[in-house]
Amino acid sequence: MRSLRSPRACLFAKEWRELMSSRAWWVMLGVMGPLVGMSFISAVTAYGELSGVNGTAAGVGEAFSPLIGIWAPTFSACELAAAFLLPFVGIRLVSGDLQSGASKIEMQHPLSSRSRLLIKAAVLMCGWMLATLAPLIGVVLWMSYGGTVYTPELSTVLAGHVLNAGLTIALAAAAAALTEHPATAAIVTLTVTVGTWLINFAAAVNGGWWERAARLTPTAMVAEFQRGLVRADLVMVALALIVCGLAVAWTWLRLGLSATKRAQLSVAAAIATVIVVFAATRVTASWDASESRRNSFTKSEEAALAAITGDLHIEAHFAPEDPRRSDLEHNAFRKLRRAVPGVRIEYVSATSVGLFEQTSEHYGEIQYELSGKRDVSRITTADGVLTSVLTLAGIGPPPELDAEMFRGHPLAARPRGAAVIYYGVWPLAVAALAIMVQRRK
């Protein structure tokens, strides 16, 4: 056997070997195929039917973009795996060393515990990237059907899931380092995951601060990336949380520190993270990587909005659970915030459902105010909001340029071969590889 002389190389090779010995990782890899396959096959089938397969709804697919029709659902399987499978792989890799006593041997090397943890995280990320081969096979299949691929939007979706995996790895590492048993670490990790869902639920019911917090959860972050939107604030928050998780893990994995000192350092890391997160919420920069510009107004519309001077203030009278509020937020305000970063948007409601507010005089109104001028509208579409804002600003409607229209990429294709690959070839190949690797001496 060749001796690897660099301690980092030795440790990386060791961690990789440990990952390959981990049944948790092989299970995750094996499950990824059918999980992604199910999403991909149903997405391609739906896309094909709406694009005219079997004579149904021909022409509807003209507005179709693979980002929403194919990549978002296909890669959403990664979100499930990151929430329910990857934590166990991460915990296995970190807790395994603590449980077996290997960490007591490895940590006596002068290599810093920070480097050791980063190597572990890097190996876990490499393992995750291997698992991401499953959706990437979907990309190849899609192209073989004649489907188009717009690289920036596909890369954005992939980047979102990589960031999400980074969050999971950091959380799992922190949980494994903080707790004495892997089962406890798993409970802690799942508790945090479920906790973020509760925030989303509370946001949908209560709005307000819950809504602001919900915009920063991993689920919301992945959703933004799946829409092709890269938001600097979310990237900053995700990176801050990853660093925080790893810092906490590092603190509790270091040798020779008292529990009090570890607790103090962990609290300091948490406080620093909260500060960064608050700072990040002030950042408005974003990049729409979608081919259809689904997060943006057209370039002419943006040029018209850029001419607005003065403070734009909007009050939308919709309850958190009112579906019109969701339409307004996702289809109109999201675009407006990107085009007019200074816009101040507030939601006003007396209840969470809004059902009993319908009779109230102002419920359902969107009140616009710009430099002392006011306007009221009830239209929740992007065009309606744009018209109201431009009218208030005294700016004429921008020209509708044919070149700016997204024509979509309809594809009336069936998911040929996908079932064989995802439900047959993938699991068999993973099982064969797992047996081969596990038998290796």
């Binding site: 301690p7 030795c10 060791k14 006593g101 290997a102 041997i105 006596q108 008292s258 001496k441």
Partner: protein, 227 residues
């Protein structure tokens, strides 16, 4: 501590508390270069805590540890890298701790490990695992090795073989500090002894010094008399 006084590790006033319990109480002793020092004490006397505090694995509440050379602590009751083979573990330790050339083969031969190289660590018996772990400790090339209960789980023949092997490494310049609860094992291999009981040092010296001080004929009797 200087290179001329023969000491390579000096522990002074080491204290460790677990809440109200004083696990180590003002522990002081010296380790000389190239010797095998046995830290003897019954279960719960603080041997493992002492080793963990000396090696820095665990924080200490008071006291100092001065060392002239890097040390390695080999914990008891661990089964590192259980899914990997003994051969791979030794290969990893050799690379990771930059072992001296040729040391791996010497350690493997000395601890009779060739037949275990292809076995997974998690599948070894307690005695086999103990020998594999000793190999890990010796392969680190650290001049001072602290081994917690190195004879635990070994049968009589293995104990003698391992003792012989440790002696041979000590002759080659390694300093070994062994925590041992079986006094007969300690008497077989160690040059000097630190008697630990209730977290405090009750005596330190060679077999002759301790038996003379206790007015007893054997190390076991001296230990009982002094603790």
């Amino acid at each position: 501590m200087t290179a001329t006084d023969g000491a390579c590790l000096r522990v002074s006033g080491l204290t460790k508390r677990y809440g109200a319990l004083r696990a180590l109480d003002n522990v002081s002793f010296t380790v000389r270069r190239g010797e095998i020092l046995g830290v003897i004490g019954p279960n719960g006397s603080g041997k493992t805590t002492l080793f963990e505090c000396v090696s820095g694995v665990m924080p200490r509440d008071a006291g100092t540890v001065d060392t002239l050379a890097p040390l390695f602590y080999l914990p008891d009751a661990i089964a590192p890298w259980p899914a990997q083979t003994v051969g791979w573990a030794l290969h990893f330790v050799e690379g990771y701790f930059a072992a001296a050339s040729g040391l791996r083969d010497a350690v493997i031969a000395s601890l009779s490990l060739p037949s275990l190289l292809d076995q997974r660590i998690g599948e070894l018996s307690k005695g086999q695992r103990k020998r594999a772990l000793l190999a890990v400790g010796l392969l680190t090339s650290r001049p001072i090795v602290l081994a917690d209960e190195p004879f635990d789980g070994l049968d009589l023949r293995q104990t003698r073989e391992v003792a012989q092997s440790l002696r041979s490494f000590a002759r080659d310049g390694r300093t070994l500090v062994l925590s041992i609860h079986q006094i007969s094992d300690a008497a077989r291999v160690c040059d000097r002894f630190v008697l630990l009981s209730g977290g405090a040092v009750r005596g330190e010296g060679t077999l002759d010094e301790l038996t003379a001080r206790a007015g007893q004929a054997t190390l076991e009797d001296a230990f009982l008399a002094l603790t």
